[in-house]
């Protein structure tokens, strides 16, 4: 029920926003998202952490098309719950962050933002494959509107490319998912779209079947992540989107891809994952290095952060295909941490853009003297993104690489801590160069933007005096923002900074809370792919004691 509320509240708020006077739109939106955040807080308390792998917690199930086994079924395990919490947290922050940036069509903007939040929550909360897919696809529409109406100069092209690219991929993924449903129907005798039931049957598919299903699913999910050759929609969409859109895109939408890989690709086609893991890992590593180097030569600071997402998400998927619990833990943490730190970087770039109306590093520099608070946050979140020990990025990046390092078949038995897998030290070594490259481009950006001689565009003061004032001036007494961040903007960044520091220093509670669903997935993959028997693995893996199959 809680989960249904988490979807309903934003949806209803969206309706209220549309009916409310335009000047009140952002206030209504803020109220709605804050309410959702409170509900998410309750959900975290109501969740039974002793059964963190049980996929049906806090849920409900309504018959939809019983003949086809379609249900409106919601429910979460701990991983999905954390991602929902991240979504709920970013909601009010995005509204606050767009407080002054959006001056026209405010109702449209905030209504779509709220719909987007409902859809993203639905992706993580869905227990039914069709419901998942509907939500997964539905995120495209609000995002399309946000980019094409509220984006910057090249917004139409970016929006269309984003939509068509990800939509085409998702259709192929749908074919793969439906094949799994059909397979289950053929062998179990009944139609079902229940993800748990499908998980039970899917891994019995033959090797070639699994291979095709994997490729089909990856066609959709890898575009969303995005993995190396299919990433080109992202820099464009990220750069053109309004600030809140970029934050949501980096914070949650990309995670839909990695979450889907975790939720469907690994358990549905385990044998194929083992077979394809090295290839996927190579794509990840190419992406890490290639996108990282591209970051380095960007002059548009927003594009730099956008390409950094391509690089960073490579680590995330690398951790997933390490196929051991260290790598998977790192990957899930990465989903959350990247959402926090990169989301914050996009906020910072957005706040700066509101003041200077440029994102070019040629026209900006040494802003620390003008905007000391902004610069402080910039350095902080850049460090979190680089993976400075003590901040959140380090924990997840390190775990992803450690998992990759240990995932070596030939090494496995002899070495302490080595676990079963098909990657190994070489993969980790190449991925690690990405950390150096990340330090290179992020420090380059920080050095350029924050320090050195002050450079401002066109020599003017750079205060964001909005020229086009539009009809509804009631809420916008004066467009000018002060030189440095306002209390509202600091209020947006402070929670993210606190979480970055908190998760950097004390990641253990979060890691423990996701250990159990991860170890279930790991055992499922390893058992189905004939790697190690479940019993043997449970003994060798260092995760917390594993509960029996509580999920059934």
């Amino acid at each position: 029920m809680t989960l249904a509320l988490l979807m309903l509240v934003p949806l209803l708020t969206a309706l209220v926003v549309l009916c409310a006077p335009a000047s009140r739109a952002r206030l209504v939106a803020l109220t709605g998202t804050l309410l959702a955040l409170v509900i998410a807080g309750f959900a975290l308390m109501a969740f039974d952490w002793n059964y963190s792998a049980h996929p049906g917690q806090l849920g409900l199930s309504l018959a939809w098309l019983p003949k086809l086994g379609l249900n409106f079924a919601l429910g979460v395990d701990s991983i999905a719950l954390w991602l929902i919490a991240l979504t709920a947290l970013l909601g009010p922050l995005c509204v606050l962050g767009s407080w002054t940036a959006i001056t026209e069509n405010q109702r449209t903007f905030f209504a779509w933002l709220l719909v987007l939040q409902a859809a993203m929550t639905g992706v993580f909360a869905a227990r039914d494959l069709v419901l998942f897919y509907i939500c997964f696809e539905f995120t495209l529409i609000p995002m399309y509107v946000l980019i094409s109406v509220f984006g910057s100069t090249n917004r139409r092209k970016a929006a269309i490319k984003f939509f068509l690219f990800t939509f085409t991929g998702s259709l192929i993924a749908l074919a793969g998912l439906l094949y799994v449903v059909w397979f289950t129907k053929r062998y179990s005798g009944a139609w079902s779209f229940d993800i748990a039931i499908l998980t039970d049957w899917a891994h019995r598919m033959s090797g070639p079947e699994q291979g095709l299903v994997l490729l089909a699913m990856l066609a959709g999910f890898a575009v969303k992540v995005p993995l190396f050759p299919v990433h080109t929609w992202l820099p464009l969409a990220h750069t053109e989107a309004p600030t809140a859109g970029s934050v949501i895109l980096a914070g949650v939408l990309l995670k839909l891809g990695t979450y889907a890989i975790y939720r469907f690709v690994l358990p549905f086609a385990p044998a194929a994952v083992v077979a394809y893991a090295p290839a996927i890992a190579v794509l990840c590593i190419i992406g890490i290095i290639y996108a990282g180097l591209i970051c380095w030569v960007q002059t548009d600071v927003k594009k730099l952060v956008a390409y950094s997402s391509v690089s960073h998400l490579g680590f995330c998927v690398l951790g997933l295909v390490a196929l051991n619990s260290v790598g998977l833990t790192g990957s899930v943490l990465y989903m959350i941490n990247h959402g926090l730190s990169t989301g914050a970087l996009f906020f910072l770039v957005g706040f700066m853009y509101e003041r200077y109306h440029t994102r070019s590093m040629r026209e900006l520099g040494g802003l620390a003297s003008k905007m000391p608070i902004w610069a402080t946050f910039m350095v902080f979140f850049a460090m979190a993104s680089v993976g400075l020990p003590g901040l959140n990025g380090f924990v997840s990046e390190f775990l992803c690489m450690l998992g990759t390092f240990q995932a070596d078949k030939s090494w496995g038995s002899g070495m302490p801590g080595a676990t079963w897998g098909v990657l190994g030290p070489w993969f980790a070594a190449f991925a690690a160069t990405g950390v150096i490259i990340a330090a290179m481009y992020l420090l380059y950006m920080v050095g350029r933007m924050c320090f050195g001689p002050l450079v401002e565009p066109g020599g003017h003061g750079g205060h964001g005096a909005h020229a086009g004032h539009s009809g509804h001036a009631a809420h916008e007494p004066e467009g000018a923002l002060p030189a440095d961040l306002t209390a509202r903007e600091v209020g947006v960044l402070l929670p993210l900074a606190a979480l970055c520091l908190g998760l950097g220093l004390f990641p253990t509670p979060l890691m423990n809370s996701i250990a159990e669903p991860i170890s279930q997935t790991v055992r499922l993959v390893q058992a189905a792919s004939g790697g190690v028997s479940p019993v043997e693995h449970a003994a060798s893996d260092e995760t917390v004691p594993v509960l029996a199959e509580v999920s059934r």
């Binding site: 490319k161 068509l164 690219f165 050759p229 299919v230 990433h231 080109t232 929609w233 290639y290 180097l293 591209i294 380095w296 030569v297 960007q298």
Partner: protein
């Protein structure tokens, strides 16, 4: 250096320790220099001495070389740290404020005087044309209590750490334990090494259990050798940079410059290490990054755009056929029928 507006040039400061308010800095500098130079009984002495001795003790190719290199470096360290002390902190009082005052970026390399710099072309009014006049207007601010407290703490800690060396038995806490292995307590270290099974190898029978320094036990000898080397370095600095020096900018060391050939120039450029890295690592990576960026925009994204453009291209090619002229469609239909008939006839043959 902060007090002199960011002045980093050794030739433009002198006698700082005798200036008002700079006494603590001067004393702390002396203690620090003594430490770095490995002056006998300073904390730096014991640690450096032990490292050098151990490298002579180790058997195997190269260790002797390492020991000699360390020893020479120790002498150089003593020389260059005391060069700073002799030049900047004592000697005739003189100073010239740094670039942070007059935003001038010529650091005055080489031996040309500072008088011909075009100072004061913008910025603070009242600054004269020449360094000397400028110095008269500039008032260095002596460090406050915060900096003095930090310096005093560090200096006292250095002296205290050295003091523990005289308590070097096992019973004197962790500092004593650390110093215990120094050659100041060489019998202990030697006993440890002789007991270590790794050293019983002594393949060459005529050698003792460990390596030698000029035929002596390194632990015993290094105690004195490193002291002498350190003192030599200090003496060289004293002779070249203090004795008979009347101005800040010149000293006897200047006479050596021609004799050393290109070495001073290389040293001034930090042996071109930065340039080397730049050429071998940074520049190629930078080029590669640009190549990747171009590939990404043209090739990877180009393929995507091509896929997107394909339907449009096909559409624009096919569109003219739908021209609304009925006889045109009739011809097309007749042609199609003809092809089908032909196909059927051919297949049935």
């Amino acid at each position: 250096m902060h007090g002199f507006a960011g002045q980093l040039d050794l030739r433009k400061l002198s006698g700082v320790a005798f200036m008002k308010g700079w006494g603590i800095v001067g004393i702390a500098m002396l203690v620090g220099c003594l430490n770095l130079a490995g002056f006998p009984f300073s904390a730096g002495f014991f640690s450096k001495d032990q490292i050098i001795a151990e490298s002579f003790v180790q058997l195997g190719p190269g260790y002797q070389w390492i020991g000699w290199i360390l020893l020479i470096t120790a002498g150089l360290t003593a020389y260059y740290t005391f060069r700073v002390f002799f030049r900047v902190f004592i000697g005739p009082k003189y100073f010239e404020p740094g670039d942070e005052v007059h935003a001038h970026d010529d650091h005055g390399h080489g031996d040309h005087g500072h008088g011909d710099h075009g100072h004061g072309d913008h910025g603070h009014a009242g600054h004269g044309e020449h360094g000397r006049e400028e110095a008269a207007h500039f008032h260095p601010h002596a460090p406050g209590w915060a900096i003095n407290l930090v310096l005093a703490t560090l200096a006292v800690a250095c002296l205290a750490a050295a003091g523990t060396a005289f308590l070097n038995t096992d019973e004197h806490g962790w500092v004593g334990h650390m110093v215990h292995g120094s050659s100041a307590n060489y019998t202990g270290a030697a006993a440890f090494l002789e007991a270590a099974p790794a050293h019983e190898g002594a393949e060459a029978g005529e050698h003792a259990a460990h390596g030698m320094f000029l035929g002596q036990n390194p632990h015993e000898v290094m105690y004195y050798v490193s002291s002498v080397v350190g003192l030599l370095g200090i003496a060289a600095a004293f002779y070249l940079h203090y004795m008979g020096r009347t101005t800040a900018a010149t000293s006897k060391a200047d006479a050596l410059v021609p004799a050393l050939g290109p070495i001073p120039k290389w040293a001034q450029h930090k042996w071109y290490v930065d340039e080397f890295y730049n050429a071998v690592i940074v520049l190629p990576l930078r080029v590669l990054s640009h190549v990747f960026h171009t590939i990404d925009r043209l090739l990877v994204d180009g393929l995507v755009n091509l896929a997107g453009a394909t339907p449009r291209i096909i559409g624009s090619r096919v569109r003219p056929w739908q021209n609304g002229q009925l006889h045109g469609y009739a011809v097309g239909m007749a042609g199609g029928v003809a092809v089908l008939v032909a196909a059927v006839v051919l297949l049935s043959l």
